[in-house]
């Protein structure tokens, strides 16, 4: 490399600040994306087919709000039932009993493999397979029996399809969480005279759930969206309520926008809640990191990772 002579009156290196590197690519790319964004926004605002007044008219419609409630109820019940079954499956999977392990494996294999939509339709039509449901002694007399068609409503079929699918995924997450707890923890509990159940409840599960909460949060968000599948069972959730209205009024796009807006509101709330919980859990116990509220944003997690 050829060395050029330094100019005579250059200041001392300690007296000046260096000019930062300019990233031309970021500026150019940013400008293009901004332009595309503006175009999209223009379509949103100026396209008459969006019919924003109709959107506004139906956004807080009684039927839409009832559908919203149904969506939330389905999400909540499916998650609670799914997690409860999932904990049992995870414990069975880690048990020393071979039958327990096999049954848990088979359940997880089946319900992870069959799409929830197929399951829901199947559960709904269960009466075709088992016309009568009864309680009694296996292979012996029946004590009570019901017509299966009375038991299976669109609601119970939907809950089964969603909760059973969730249970299979939750079981695998909880199993991984339990296995991440070191063997030393259970040994220490054993030497203190704790029983298996006490060790599980007091030592292993509290630590395992801490690990499992972030993925469960993600699952809750997915579940909220999966509930829209119940529209095939004519169960009036958020999507089906919107569908019922546009089937009558032919305002298809505005009502789909209404549903979209509500789904976005709900997933945004859940995402924020999940990030709050995750940040609390990530801080080592006892020293919960004090963060400014704007640092726990929608994408706070990713940003923190980029900075790290």
């Amino acid at each position: 490399m050829r060395r050029t002579e330094p100019p005579k009156n250059r200041p001392s290196i300690h007296d000046v600040r260096p000019v930062p590197v300019r990233n031309v690519g970021q500026w150019l790319g940013g400008a293009v994306l901004l332009l595309l964004g503006l175009l999209f926004f223009q379509i949103l605002v100026t396209n008459q087919n969006m019919k924003w007044p109709v959107v506004a008219q139906y956004l807080f419609d009684r039927k839409i709000l009832a559908g919203l409630g149904m969506t939330l109820l389905l999400t909540f019940l499916a998650m609670v039932i799914g997690l409860a079954i999932g904990v049992v499956l995870a414990i069975m999977r880690l048990s020393s009993g071979r039958v327990f392990r096999a049954v848990s494996w088979a359940w997880i294999w089946f319900f992870r493999g069959v799409p929830p939509l197929v399951q829901m339709i199947f559960w709904y039509n269960l009466a075709l397979l088992l016309p009568e449901t009864s309680i009694g002694i296996p292979f012996g007399p029946k004590l009570m029996s019901w017509n299966t068609n009375d038991l299976i409503t669109p609601f119970s079929a939907a809950i089964m399809g969603l909760a059973f699918t969730e249970s299979a995924y939750a079981a695998e997450m909880i199993r991984a969480g339990i296995q991440a707890i070191s063997h030393g923890q259970t040994e220490a509990a054993a030497t203190l005279g704790m029983t298996r159940g006490q060790t599980l409840r007091r030592i292993v599960l509290p630590q395992a759930l801490r690990i499992v909460i972030p993925p469960i949060g993600n699952d809750t968000i997915s579940m909220l969206k999966f509930t829209s599948l119940v529209s095939v069972l004519a169960l009036p959730d958020l999507l089906y309520s919107a569908q019922m209205i546009y089937a009558r009024t032919y305002q298809t796009i505005p009502l789909l926008i209404v549903a979209t807006l509500w789904y976005l509101v709900l997933t945004t709330i859940l995402t924020l809640a999940e990030h709050l919980i995750e940040h609390r859990l990530k801080a080592s116990p006892g020293q919960i990191a004090r963060r400014k509220w704007w640092e726990i944003g929608l994408f706070g997690h990713q940003r923190a990772q980029v900075q790290a």
């Binding site: 070191s182 030393g184 030497t191 203190l192 704790m194 298996r196 007091r202 801490r210 116990p285 006892g286």
Partner: protein, 257 residues
């Protein structure tokens, strides 16, 4: 004659085809400090873990106050104990691990009161009072509300000792309690154990600390290849070993000290 607090008879342990313990007989009298030393892989830790049935012996029996550990007579038939029956027996034997194994989601104080409250059903207030006294004894009173992650290795190990003592055990087992510690932290844990010995606690200590074995131990056991090679009063064994294997081990270890 008073029967020994702990006695081990013809204890063998194999992992697959690999025999780790090849027939151990030993006794521990109440109030004694028994130190077990030997090269790594000699079976010391496995022996200690067989004493409270963390490892199930392949054959042979451990007796605690005359009762077989992990086994129970039903008439003339011998049965294995269930995990929860064993738990009752384990309350009488505390154990301190090389890796501390404090519960990370609980403070030092919560670690200490956990078993008394959950297992023995002692009222929480009373358990806290007793736990604070124990934490005071191991020099951890001012750190009672710290979580394990906020404590040094030595502080964690002293808390672990207090946690075991909270169950008021007859016997304390120590599995290389200072091996995972930075050198400058070893002293504080050994001082706590020394204090415990002075208080009359029966202790079985697997250790590499020859100084502790000589000064605090009442009995020294040298193991190699899964058997007890030599045992006796620590000063005797350390200064006048009779077996060649003991001599060569001691010459290697004492050179370092």
């Amino acid at each position: 004659m008073i029967p020994p607090l702990l006695s081990v008879e013809r204890l063998r342990k194999s992992f697959g085809t690999h025999e780790v313990l090849g027939g151990i007989d030993m006794q521990v009298n109440r109030g004694d400090v028994t130190c077990i030393v030997g090269p790594s892989g000699s079976g010391k830790s496995t022996l200690l873990r067989c004493l409270n049935y963390l490892e199930k012996p392949t054959s042979g029996v451990v007796f605690l106050m005359g009762e077989p550990v992990g086994l129970r007579w039903r008439g003339s038939r011998l049965h294995e104990m269930s995990f929860n029956e064993l738990a009752v027996q384990r309350q009488r034997m505390g154990m301190v691990f090389q890796g501390f194994h404090l519960f990370p989601h609980k403070t030092a104080l919560e670690n200490v009161i956990e078993a008394p409250v959950i297992v023995k059903g002692i009222p929480r207030d009373q358990a806290v009072d007793e736990a604070m006294a124990l934490l005071d004894k191991v020099g951890m009173r001012d750190r009672a509300h710290y979580y394990p992650a906020q404590l040094s290795g030595g502080q964690q190990q002293r808390t672990a000792i207090a946690r075991s003592l909270a169950m008021k055990p007859e016997l304390m087992l120590f599995d290389e309690p200072t091996s995972a510690l930075d050198p400058e932290l070893v002293g504080e844990v050994l001082a706590t154990m020394r204090q415990l010995a002075t208080d009359g606690m029966t202790m079985v200590v697997v250790t590499h600390e020859m100084g502790f074995a000589r000064d605090v131990g009442d009995h020294l056991i040298f193991m190699d290849g899964g058997v007890i090679v030599e045992q006796g009063r620590p000063a005797e064994v350390l200064s006048r070993p009779t077996q060649d294997r003991t001599k060569s081990f001691l010459s290697r270890v004492l050179l370092d000290n």
